[in-house]
Amino acid sequence: VIALVALVALIATATPSASLADIGPVSIAFQDGGLGAARSAVPRSEVGFTGLGFLLADFDNFYGDLKARALLSGRWAMGELELSADVEVLRAELVISSLSAGRVGLGTTAIGATYRINGTSGIKGAADWDLAVTSRIALPTDFGAREHGAPFGIDYGALISWRPRDDVEVHGHLLGLASAQISDGPTFGRIGFTLGGGASWSPLSWLTAGADLGAQLAYDDALDRLALAIALRFRVSDAVAIDLSASKPLAGEDRTLAVGALGVRVGF
């Protein structure tokens, strides 16, 4: 509630900012802390609030997993460097099997940094393409989600974007990700990588459409997922944008049927 109030206040007082991007990949985080998720190579300053819904329904195996996440995020551009923090302020989950169980609590917190190697600051026009390195660390703030263990995770890699026209961006990413936990149980160490690419197109000054294809490999299985993600971004004002996005795994071991997200971003 506090986060929402703060967000509304920020929207009310926000000033137009050139850093509010209508570009960048469709970023839907399947892993805790958004590890391995695509992100923009262009630094920007904004705060956002996103609600995500995950649906896994495997009728043949009597299994269902419904997840709802509320994510408060912020990123600050300081020259070529962008620092970010994402706090999952709410995670509600209901697992339906022969028995059912649910939980509600905090989710994972992630902090990260992205550094643009080439180009100059600004969003458009300064360079035809941007190349950045990035890393994110996931911290075990999902108290109540697990009885035992404190998992940590990290991703690291490169981001690239290319703008052949002012209204089109093509982008890609290659990220390694790793996680493990401090626990009396399994260390549960996993290492994998994600790669993907896509494009966004802004046919109107207030509308951007985007599509990305991304894969996660070798983390849990050889191919965890190959997922298509699409998004519509509505620029409400120079300072405020609303994002509507969805993703669906097309192949791989991930049984998630679909993910949907609705978010608001406020640039500053």
Binding site: D60, S97, G102, R103, I182, D184
Partner: protein, 959 residues
């Protein structure tokens, strides 16, 4: 960043270094840490040991004991526990490593199985792959490691441990989610009570032995937290059990007389997380659950500092009537005890509260006293008074001699019925009167076995008594008025009827005893019941265990009991194509089997996860006699706790789909294919039950399936069996199979005659049917085809006990009623001592069969008209009667009909098939029949007369 990563790496290394137990992984020889370390019991000379049961080691006593060489044993000075070996699992388990026997020293095992699971599905069940006995440094434990069944990434490990002096075993189970998806788990012991045996007890408001009904899809709704769970039987008083959680305040679970789950609360276990459950499973001598509850309270004192007092009392006068005392804290039952012959009782209860101490007699509360609140260790005494019961001496004779018989009590007026209808400790069936626990020895419920003058205590009232000794004896009845404190002798004279055809034996090929997981009847009572039913031959077919009764009653010359087994599918698996739900293959009988008392299943075999054809071959390799019989039991009937009881129903067989001639991969093809695992055809059995159970509710379904097979040229002999599990659920020998065979009994000849179908099935009437031609050649029913002369006649004689009214005789041709004969003789005296000839006649075969030169079959039936039925699910098998009595059979007759969600054609809710209720007049002939054949109506049938018109073998109807 680098520093942060270094710190994280160090923490992970330290975390790995501090690993304990089997949480990191079960592939190595990990050792689960010791559970319940806050508990300590002391005694003067305690011992303990863990070992593998050897061929010469004694097996724990008790009718439910399953131990066999190779099993793992924990034993101390107080108790003995058996965990089955990995390669011979039991009941619901896909592999061994489960607790199957638990008894106090000198006591008897009463446990079927305690199964470790994380949920209800097959893949939630522990599948251990390694076992280790630890017997060193004062530690006596068994470690089991494996996965949840059919998973690669859900590790499980369990440690069973025993210490000297302790009245039970300690258990710790660890389950780790190494998968990619969160799981909804409880880690629990699933206590498989089986039904008709143990009853679980929890000290919750409005609970005790009372638990909500539920189906498999409603389990989440009936989950309860409780301080402990206890359980006991009331019939054999073998052992009582209790479970207390050591690593948490309460156990969570659900309870029924079929199964209880007691474990951790359900929760989401995310990938990388794990769940641990530590508990103490206590066992005590059984006088109801109180002795085990006493241990549970001591455990809670040690674990949680909860204190208890003792309530001690007497019941006067002492009595052999069923007496029990319940300790009530408001509406919360705290403990319960069965009162023995000495009239004393003693049980613990939490301190600081006053309790209502309620005395039940014949299931009714007859006295209540208050036990004042006591301090820790204090004993509060109460004195309870039982009213005087009436004594009835049943003097039953057969032909003037004292022989075995059975007497049914029924209230003779409404006032008595209201006064005496009761449940024993609020569980199991309601009986009127309740003369003893429903599942145990005589008297059970309202039934008494007699042999000579037999005394029984009954609540005061007016009763109608009926004595029976099977279908070949007359019926005797008496109305009595019983006063408290008075004794009355009731002579009941039976006579042997001239009913049974010469050259026949009366057989029941489906009978359970106490070794079955769903029966608690003692052996002696079981044998007594066999004799009281007038049976000549019995196939002892306990669930999943070969049974041989000892000849303790010296019945060798009067009764032949064949060792057999009923294989009982319990482990669900996915073998039916396009079927969402996992299934089992139902129940199959095999007899005679070799009995090997020191082997798993006492000579039988593990019978799960295979199709019938593979099962047939497996049982042949495990002791089925070369001339043995394989029987399809109750082919179409409702499932029990998700487990199908009949094979055709399990695979969704429809008559419209016919019998596939090749395996096309369809579910329908499962009826006849040779399984991929090998063995015989799934159709390679010998007999099928057409009548099963005294109430015979599914008669028309079984009959329709048998007729369909005959029409299809798949000829199997038909039988009629009681499927009795005790004295109350069904009357043994009703129905029964009359086998035409050579006398004296010769096993090889007898089994051959059974396989050949030289039999009729009946619950009273006897049908003699034959085809005769002018040459004098006579052919009786069997599955051997005949080619009669053109002038042949069907000669039929129907006889019946005078108490079994026959309303009509039906001639069935190719599954359809070709003629109904209603001008039959009705006896005037149901209590007469001579059998009644109901009808005798001869019908030209040409009148019955079309002159088409094709194959046909004939069966003769006699009894009541069959209730009208419909086939709402369109599988070709009748499934529903007019249950709402609106004159139409439709989905509104279905038990689960939901007017807000009506079905579509062939996808309706359906069932059940109900028998017409007996007449209200207790002296109506059908009411008399119902009194000794509860729920049933008169019915008899012959095996088929197969007409092979063209002499090339019987190919099916009109072929």
């Amino acid at each position: 960043m680098i520093r942060l990563l270094a710190v994280l790496a160090l923490a992970l290394v330290l975390s790995s270094c501090s690993k304990k137990s089997c949480l990191e992984g079960t592939d190595s020889a990990c050792v689960v840490i010791a559970p319940c370390e806050k508990i300590a019991f002391t005694c003067a000379a305690g011992i303990a040991r863990a070992y593998v049961l050897g061929p010469t080691d004694p097996i724990p006593p008790g009718i439910d004991a399953l131990a066999a060489p190779g099993d793992l044993v924990l034993e101390n000075d107080q108790v003995i526990a058996v965990i089955d070996a990995l390669d011979h699992p039991h009941h619901l388990a896909p592999a061994g490593g489960m607790l199957v026997d638990l008894a106090v020293k000198g006591g008897e095992d009463g446990l079927n199985q305690s199964l470790v699971a994380a949920g209800l599905l097959p893949e939630d069940t522990a599948h251990y792959t390694s076992a280790q006995v630890i017997e060193e440094n004062g530690v006596h434990a068994i470690i089991l490691r494996g996965k949840l069944d059919r998973t690669d990434d859900h590790d499980i490990a369990t440690r069973y441990e025993i210490k000297p002096c302790e009245p039970g075993i300690r258990v710790r189970t660890e389950v780790v989610n190494r998968g990619r998806d969160p799981a909804a788990w409880t880690v629990a012991d699933a206590f498989f009570w089986g039904d008709r045996d143990f009853a679980p007890f929890i000290p919750n408001p409005a609970a005790g032995f009372v638990h909500p009904d539920f189906g498999l899809t409603e389990v989440n709704d009936v989950y309860r937290d409780s301080d402990f769970m206890a359980a006991s039987d009331f019939a054999r008083r073998s052992s009582s059990y209790a479970v207390v959680r050591c690593d948490g305040p309460q156990i969570a679970g659900f309870h029924s007389t079929t199964i209880s789950a007691a474990g951790t609360p359900r929760r989401v276990v995310v990938p990388g997380d794990y769940e641990v459950y530590e508990r103490f499973i206590a066992v005590a001598a059984s006088r109801g659950p109180a002795p085990a509850i006493d241990v549970a309270l001591e455990l809670r004192r040690q674990l949680h500092g909860e204190t208890f007092m003792t309530v001690k009392g007497t019941v006067t006068p002492t009595s052999s009537a069923p007496l029990a005392v319940t300790l009530m804290d408001g509406d919360t039952p705290r403990s319960a005890v069965v009162i023995g012959a000495d009239g004393t009782f003693e049980m613990r209860a939490p301190t600081g509260k006053a309790y209502a101490v309620a005395l039940e007699m014949f299931g009714k509360v007859v006295d209540t006293k208050t036990a004042a609140a006591g301090a820790e260790g204090e004993t509060v005494t109460v004195a309870l008074t039982a009213p005087a019961a009436g004594e009835v001496v049943l003097d039953v004779s057969i032909d003037g001699a004292p022989k075995e018989a059975q007497v049914f009590f029924a209230p003779a007026d409404a006032a008595t019925k209201d006064a005496v209808a009761a449940q024993y400790l609020s569980t199991y069936a309601t009986c009127a009167p309740l003369l003893g626990p429903v599942s145990g020895a005589s008297p059970a419920c309202n039934r008494v076995l007699t042999r000579g003058p037999t005394k029984v205590l009954v609540p005061p009232g007016k009763y109608l008594l009926r004595a029976t000794a099977g279908i070949a004896a007359s019926l005797a009845e008496a109305t009595i008025d019983v006063a408290g404190g008075a004794s009355i002798t009731v002579p009941l004279a039976l006579a042997t009827l001239d009913l049974m055809p010469p050259g026949t034996l009366s057989a029941d090929f489906h009978v359970h005893g106490g070794r079955s997981f769903d029966s608690a009847i003692p052996d002696l009572t079981r044998i007594h019941a066999f004799l009281a039913s007038g049976l000549d031959v019995v196939a002892a077919t306990d669930h999943d265990v070969v049974t041989r009764y000892t000849d303790a009653l010296g019945v060798g010359g009067r009764l032949i009991i064949m060792t057999g087994i009923e294989t009982t599918g319990n482990v669900l698996h996915e073998f039916v194509p396009d079927e969402t739900l996992p299934k089992v293959i139902g129940h199959w009988n095999f007899w005679p089997m070799a009995f090997t008392p020191a082997s798993p299943y006492r000579g039988g075999a593990w019978d799960e996860l295979m199709e019938p054809g593979t099962l047939f071959a497996t049982m042949r390799q495990h002791g089925l006699s070369p001339n043995g019989v394989i029987q399809l039991n109750h082919p179409f009937t409702a499932s029990s706790f998700g487990r199908d009881l009949g094979y055709p129903q399990a695979i969704g067989f429809t008559t419209e789909g016919g019998i596939p001639t090749r395996d096309d991969g369809s579910a329908q093809a499962l009826i006849s294919r040779v399984p991929p695992q090998g063995g015989d055809s799934n159709l390679a059995y010998d007999t099928q039950e057409v009548m099963n159970g005294t109430d015979n509710l599914q008669l028309q379904a079984y009959r329709a399936y048998w007729h369909f097979l005959l029409d299809s040229g798949v000829v199997r002999a038909a039988t009629a069996n009681s499927d009795s599990h005790g004295l109350t659920d069904a009357v043994v020998g009703t129905p029964r199979t009359i086998v035409f065979t050579r006398l004296p009994f010769d096993e090889s000849t007898f089994q051959a005659d059974v396989k050949a179908g030289r039999m009729i099935g009946t619950n009273g009437p006897i049908i003699l049917a034959s085809l005769k031609d002018t040459t004098g050649a006579t052919r009786a029913p069997s599955i051997l085809a005949i080619k009669p002369a053109p002038n042949a006649t069907l000669d039929v004689v129907v006889r019946a006990p005078p108490w079994a009214p026959v309303a009509e005789v039906r001639i069935i041709v190719d599954g359809k009623v070709a003629r109904t004969i209603t001008d039959v003789s009705h006896g005037t005296d149901p209590l007469a001592t001579r059998a009644l000839e109901v009808w005798r006649g001869s019908i030209a075969l040409a009148e019955l069969l079309p002159a088409d030169g094709l194959d046909h079959w004939i069966s003769v039936e006699a009894g009541s008209p069959l209730p009208a039925t419909a086939d709402l699910n369109c599988d070709g098998i009748p499934d529903t009667t007019d249950n709402n009595r609106d004159g139409v059979i439709d989905e509104r007759d279905a038990e689960d009909f939901d007017p807000l969600a009506p079905g579509i054609e062939c996808d309706y809710e359906y069932g059940p098939v109900m028998s017409p209720p007996p007449p209200a007049d207790p002296f109506d002939p059908l009411a008399r029949f119902d009194a000794v054949t509860p729920g049933g109506f008169p019915f008899a049938f012959t095996n088929p007369l197969l007409i092979d018109a063209d002499g090339n073998g019987f190919e099916g109807a009109a072929k």
